[in-house]
């Protein structure tokens, strides 16, 4: 990746922002124009994301495509290189950028079904996406936080206006918890700025800073809990099932698929990369939290009857693996954690896409009511089963590759925890298969004889996501080749 | 309105009572100060200062402790005139003049008019608020702190310089021209505001319910 590719990275978040502006200028009755603009824009984002992923050279420097535009310096508290619009990706960010690109394209496609204020929906959605991209590529602490918040705030309106089932409650709860988390991040961020003392928000200086160990031990939990709240970390996951259940399809996809990863990404960037000793100190806690969440989410999901709530708890469980992987502090576990971020993102986006495609017609998500749907919607069912199999860690699909790494990493660190993690995979299989048997198979509930197959846009979106699932599951090398050197190179304190 | 003004007989009473009070407080102070002056413990300007300070403080105490509103306002006059004296002692005749003119001539009259306009029932019993003890404590602490700070500080070399009228005017209208203009605007706005506020607005008259509204309400 060359210097000029920095402009591609800028484009990553400028494209959605620009699309948002363009949409504002488009009359909302021109649905065709809105669909055209968003279709092109999402395709552009997808292509750019794939480009960034493909061009990231895993033998090159740690951060590639670095481009800095100074915004403010030598003013007030700031000194040289005070605040810059500095972009650049490492292997982890490249994977996350790809994930965002893969999720937003189907997310856009399925949102064309929205009848009520579609244009406004897309404006907010694209602002959110700009925030997500910005967070992944930003190398300036303050801009990082700016984009992080930019990714969170539209969520409230998106859920409260376009959501379903207790949407005001879900939106408020989600927003309150995430903002509370942001407060912690902000505190830690300025504590670090103060501790660094060079008057700069340039992240690379923080990576090399070697803060005082006591400082790290105090402020690492701020980051871990603050970002962990967004990542659905137990016991701060309360917003996740309710929020997911309330959100509209595309928002659920993006939120569970990408935004939760933003939390874990924050823990890596601000936590482990800047405060490695603090991270090492708190890693056992992360492991405990991770395995608890994995088991807890899986067992809770056994008893859920709402399809989206079940998926929400499933997300809690799968994100537990991520934290478990991070806590192992070895390269395999970390590799697994990041692969799991990607794998879970794709798979859960697929889940929500499909649930949305069904719910739009049936307005019922209660699993016991949905008997024999496979007769009415065979293609939908096949996609759903694929998503479920990926979720339960079937080899050959993305989930397995990620989970295998996490299991092995956990076994390297704490064999008992590793055993529990493998057991969790079996529980995951249990709740998913119970759901399949109850919802898709068996005799058709006559209530659903009017249901139609999902639309072509939904099929296309699902196909894109399934393609990603299978690609990672069958040929993980492109991902591992980018992630592993980055971890070895850039995460101090993570051993082989 | 004018029937609420103090009657001449009441003025007499005020003058008599005030005179007795001033004598009771003032004479011992005067005696002590004179003794100190004669004993060469203080100089003449200091004598004047202490006398003036006594007036200022007694007036201030009167203003905050007297129960009768009118008495309090009159005590304020004593204080303000005393402050003018202090300005004279500080060799600033201009300010002393302004103090007398603005305060004595303007503000106090305004306050007394205010009193008259608002004191509907002719009751002099305006007791103090319920938080008087707190107020006393806080004021004592703050005053004590100020006093301690003043005594504690080292003021360095001091010169007593007379401020000539001419220089003062030049400084005021040359260097402080913009603030002066701003203050002028402020005054203007404040007076307009005061007028607007105090005026019985036509809106209120219009608020009197008419037509169907009134019927509906009744």
């Amino acid at each position: 990746m060359t210097e000029s590719d920095g402009y591609i990275l800028l484009a990553l978040f400028l494209v959605p922002l620009g699309t948002g502006v363009l949409l504002m200028l488009t009359p909302s009755r021109e649905r065709a124009a809105v669909i055209g603009i968003t279709g092109l824009s999402s395709l552009a984002m997808f292509v750019l994301s794939v480009y960034v992923f493909a061009k990231y050279s895993f033998t090159g420097a740690q951060f590639q495509g670095v481009l800095a535009i100074t915004w403010m310096e030598n003013v007030g508290l700031l000194s040289e290189k005070g605040m810059q619009l500095k972009v650049g990706v490492d292997g982890i960010a490249a994977v996350m950028v790809l994930l965002t690109g893969i999720v937003i394209m189907p997310g856009t496609w399925v949102s064309w079904k929205i009848q009520d204020r579609m244009k406004d929906f897309f404006i907010l959605l694209y602002v959110l996406v700009a925030g997500v991209y910005g967070t992944f590529v930003m190398l300036d602490l303050l801009f990082w936080f700016f984009f992080y918040e930019l990714a969170l705030l539209p969520m409230y309106l998106l859920i409260a206006v376009w959501g379903s089932t207790r949407k005001e409650y879900g939106a408020m709860k989600l927003m309150m918890m995430l903002i509370a988390g942001s407060v912690l991040i902000f505190t830690a961020l300025f504590a670090m700025f103060n501790e660094l003392g060079t008057g700069s928000f340039d992240m690379t200086q923080y990576f090399a800073a070697h803060f005082d160990p006591t400082f790290q031990k105090i402020f690492f939990p701020f980051i871990a809990i603050g970002c962990g709240t967004l990542g659905g970390m137990f016991p701060f996951h309360g917003w996740s099932p309710d929020g997911h259940a309330a959100a509209p399809t595309a928002v659920s996809m993006l939120h569970a698929g990408v935004l939760m990863k933003l939390g874990a990404f924050g823990i890596i960037r601000l936590g482990f990369q800047m405060m490695p000793e603090g991270g090492a100190f708190w890693a056992p806690a992360l492991i405990v939290v991770g395995i608890t969440a994995a088991l807890y989410g899986a067992v809770s999901a056994l008893r859920q009857t709402d399809l989206k709530l079940m998926t929400g708890f499933s997300s809690v469980s799968h994100m537990g693996y991520v934290f478990l992987g991070l806590g192992t502090l070895n390269v395999i576990g970390w590799n697994g954690a990041i692969l799991q971020m990607f794998a879970h993102g794709i798979m859960t986006a697929l889940f929500f896409l499909l649930i949305g495609g069904m719910y739009d017609q049936s307005h019922d998500r209660e699993i016991p009511n949905l008997s024999g749907l496979a007769r009415q919607m065979p293609i939908w069912s096949i996609f759903f089963v694929i998503a479920g199999l990926a979720s339960l860690g079937l080899p050959g699909m993305s989930g397995f590759v990620a989970e295998l790494h996490i299991f092995i990493g956990a076994f390297r660190a704490y064999p008992i925890i590793g055993g529990l993690a493998v057991l969790t995979a079996a529980i995951t299989a249990t709740y998913l298969l119970r759901m399949f048997a109850a919802a898709f198979f068996g005799p058709l509930n006559p209530r659903w004889s009017g249901l139609k197959e999902i639309t072509w846009t939904e099929r296309a979106g699902a196909a894109v996501l399934v393609g990603a699932i299978l690609l990672l599951g069958l040929w993980p090398s492109p991902w591992v080749d980018r992630i592993a050197p980055t971890i070895i190179q850039s995460i101090p304190g993570v051993t082989l | 309105m004018f029937d609420r003004l103090p009657l001449p007989s009441q003025f007499d009473r005020i003058i008599v009572q005030g005179g007795i009070a001033a004598t009771l407080f003032g004479v011992p102070v005067l005696v002590v100060l004179l003794a100190l002056l004669i004993g060469n413990r203080i100089e003449a300007p200091e004598l004047v200062f202490w006398l003036d300070a006594t007036v200022v403080l007694l007036g201030a105490l009167g203003a905050v402790f007297l129960r009768n509103l009118v008495h309090a306002a009159l005590a304020l006059i004593a204080t303000l005139i005393g402050v003018a004296g202090i300005f004279l002692l500080l060799a600033n005749e201009f300010l002393a003049l302004v103090q007398i003119l603005v305060y004595g001539g303007g503000v106090v009259i305004l306050l007394i008019f205010g009193l008259m306009l608002t004191n509907a029932q002719d009751d002099p019993v305006v007791t103090d608020g319920s938080q008087k003890p707190f107020a006393f404590g806080i004021a004592a602490i703050l005053g004590g702190l100020f006093v301690a700070a003043v005594i504690d500080a080292n003021w360095g070399a001091q010169t007593l310089s007379v401020v000539p009228f001419r220089d003062f005017g030049a400084r005021l209208f040359r260097d402080f021209l913009v603030p002066v203009i701003l203050v002028a605007v402020l005054l203007d706005i404040a007076l307009t505001g005061a007028f607007v506020n105090a005026r019985r607005s036509s809106d209120e008259d219009a608020m009197v319910p008419t037509g169907q509204d009134a019927e509906a309400r009744s």
Partner: protein, 102 residues
Amino acid sequence: MIPIENFLLLAAVLFAIGFYGVLARRSAILILISVELMLAGAAINFVTFATYLDPVGFSGAVFALFVITVAAAEVGLALGIVLRIFRERQTVNVDEVDSLKW
């Protein structure tokens, strides 16, 4: 020469007395009177510093002038408000003027 402390102490005590008055009095007019006392204390300080410590610029004196001016403006405005309150509520007792609450 009168020591500077004399003036400053006088100003401090005057200020404190006015302070007490603001907090303790119930009539709006009397509170205004107490505010005048505090302003007078502050003005004395300004002039004292101008005279003793700033023999050429005497900025403090200029500020004292401003204080007097602003005080006059303030009294005028405040009285307007007090009259207004009196007209609305038939009282100038600040304890009874409590529409600022929840």
